[in-house]
Symmetry: C2
């Protein structure tokens, strides 16, 4: 069989998706006897279709591969390209002709749900056509919403970024502690509240900020929210509230959509504001208290400033394990994490059927959400705390983090 390797990245960036790329590439280069040339597809499967392919070995020689490990974002570029459901579509033979052309024996795709869908379809097409190419998915997503794995690479660093940012926001909010104020922090997560839940990790004592935390998993009631805020302000004058961007009424309407139906800007467009902005206006109007909302920016998904050592090591190891699994004959699988029972934190790498993963979504268990949907329980803290451990030294240059750039 052919034994060249190709690896791609897909979906949104994370802080450690490049660590998984590093893991795949360095392991494949290490196993030069089993693996032939190692290629990267630029801009995922879409770029590959357009012939955007690069060789990866020169990066090891230039030292860039080591730099890639701590560089956030997708070094190879990304795409959002869904392969057709119909395996009879003409794109499949086209892709497999290209694989043939490059002598590909092993295909690795690093990404979330949609990327696993790509791995699923390609592996099924391979089975159908009796192709020997092996297809392996390496998980990444800050959303932590993939099933059949304890957690996903990217979540730990994003959680650490969110937690430390919320702490700094709380510090900022507390300097005038003689004046009551509400700060609403909106955190990424449309359907799953894992990342928002991570804000609980900064709480040092009962009643410490963030006092209120709302996830999309439970129905959000604006009147109850106002009651919660009013009551919390009595004991915490500088209140910090964390919400998922996807909080909703439980019947399919996002809180941010309540607003967008009303405001129109001077270009005649609907004003699309987030859930945080909506609640800011609500608190101002109804409680008359000083209030601001903060939307954490894209750095929550791709900042290197709060890398979790645990996360980056697992991300790299997942990539390397993918190569091992493929060489051992596995295909149509996603690399997964299984947490070992016992006191300390330890995980085991496994492979799971990618077809069972790609169209499912794992949300925060309802029993981990407490106080009628306004807080997070100890189970989550025990689950998430190990994932944010350890600091990572990011190389720097001229006073700023030094990253790898594709030339």
């Amino acid at each position: 069989m052919k034994n060249n390797v190709i690896v791609g990245q897909s979906g949104g960036p994370t802080a450690v998706i490049n660590a998984s790329l590093y893991g795949v590439v360095s392991e494949a280069l290490k196993r030069a006897g089993d693996c032939g040339t190692v290629y990267g597809m630029v801009n995922g499967i879409e770029g590959f279709l357009n012939g955007q392919v690069m060789e990866m070995k020169p990066l090891e020689e230039s030292g860039d591969l080591e730099l890639i490990r701590t560089t956030p974002g997708s070094y190879l570029g990304s795409c959002r390209f869904k392969l057709p459901e119909d395996l009879e579509d003409e794109v499949y033979p086209k892709l497999f002709e290209r694989f043939e052309e490059y002598g590909i024996g092993y295909f690795f795709y690093i990404g979330g749900n949609d990327s696993m869908d790509t791995v699923s379809k390609l592996s099924r097409y391979a089975q159908k056509t009796e192709s020997e190419i092996r297809f392996i998915g390496v998980p990444k997503t800050i959303d932590n919403d993939l099933v059949h794995t304890d957690h996903t690479p990217g979540f730990g660093s994003a959680a650490k970024y969110v937690a430390s940012t919320v702490r700094e926001v709380a510090i900022d909010a507390s300097v005038y502690d003689n004046k009551k104020s509400v700060t609403i922090v909106e955190i990424m997560g449309r359907h799953a509240g894992w990342l928002t839940a991570a804000s609980v990790l900064v709480r040092k004592f009962e009643g410490d900020n963030p006092v209120l935390i709302y996830l999309p998993e439970t129905a959000f009631d604006t009147e109850k929210f106002l009651e919660d805020v009013k009551s919390a302000l009595e004991t915490t004058p500088n209140l910090v509230v964390c919400i998922s961007e996807g909080i909703n009424d439980g019947k399919g309407t996002f809180v941010c959509e309540l607003e967008s139906s009303v405001g129109v800007d001077n270009f005649g467009h609907k004003m699309l504001t987030g859930s945080g902005k909506y609640l800011e206006n609500l608190v101002k109007a109804r409680l008359g208290v000083k209030v601001r909302s903060i939307e954490l920016n894209v750095c929550q998904r791709c900042s290197s400033s709060m890398l979790s050592a645990t996360d980056i090591e697992e991300a790299a190891a997942a990539g390397a394990y993918g190569v091992k699994a493929a060489l051992e004959g596995e295909t149509g699988k996603m690399i997964a994490f299984s947490r070992k029972a016992g006191d300390g934190y330890a995980i085991e790498y496994t492979t799971e059927d990618v077809n069972q993963i790609c169209n499912e979504e794992k949300t925060v268990p309802l029993e981990w959400i407490t106080k009628n949907g306004s807080d997070i329980g100890q189970e989550f803290i025990d689950y998430a705390r190990p994932l944010i451990q350890g600091q990572v030294d990011v190389p720097s240059e001229d006073g700023l983090p030094k990253f790898a750039y594709r030339r």
Copy 2:
């Protein structure tokens, strides 16, 4: 004369205002022969008036003082309290009675423009009443807008945070590099563009992001802006634009005010959106290109994740130098930085008349702003680059930065 020491913090928080507090307190404790008890005023001069005073020596014994050095925000809390212009006002004798009560000989106030106004008034009142208390201001502000000093503590770390965040935003924007997009980053700075200008520090080559940078120092013309964006998109498909929150038409109208006169939310309030949101809507309507705006949150003024070693060391040294100056008899002065001539970067600490500082504002020199107000020149880069140098290890605990808390 009395020789007890009191120190306070005022105005908005920064990443290193506590390093200056550390500098004042540790120097005063070190000079126990000259200085008596070292007090901190909680919530600035306003809290002091209400009797909120704490002893600082126990913090050295508990190890908290060392922790304070790398803790962002105002450990002692802050206030925004302007002393009356009229030195005959009854608040002055009240304050000086309190100073008497605590045996204060040396007063240190760490803050920006308004805090220097407090130092100015107190020192003038002292002169008028022949009080021997010495009043010293220690500068801090991310805005870098104080006159008679090369720069201010707090700016270097904020500049480093802004620059590295803009780089990560640019990385995030570039992963789908086959699609054109505009990302507008709004950075703090109402009247002075120093912090926004710092975004230029991430540019690695001519034409690298951020390609366009707009400061409040020059008049902002929306039509020219659209032309700039259109033309930049031709060579940079994933364009990043940085703007100061205070960009204005040069006649006193902020760009963000253009918007607020139009939108009304469903509570009947004006929609107050920032300049970034306004320009996002403008680009969408007029250029029809994918666009998003990002408002850097409060962490740009108080994150410890991107501390500049140069900044934190200078902030601590400024505090210590303040104690030295006061012991040598100076009063009514602010500690200032003078950059030494020559190749390498070195500064000298000096004292400047606080009365000359408190009502002035230093903006970015117009000759440092290039390309008709859309870019920043080499002079700024040479000026700012040394201020962001060096990484700082922040202690951590349980996977998150460990900060000092006032109990």
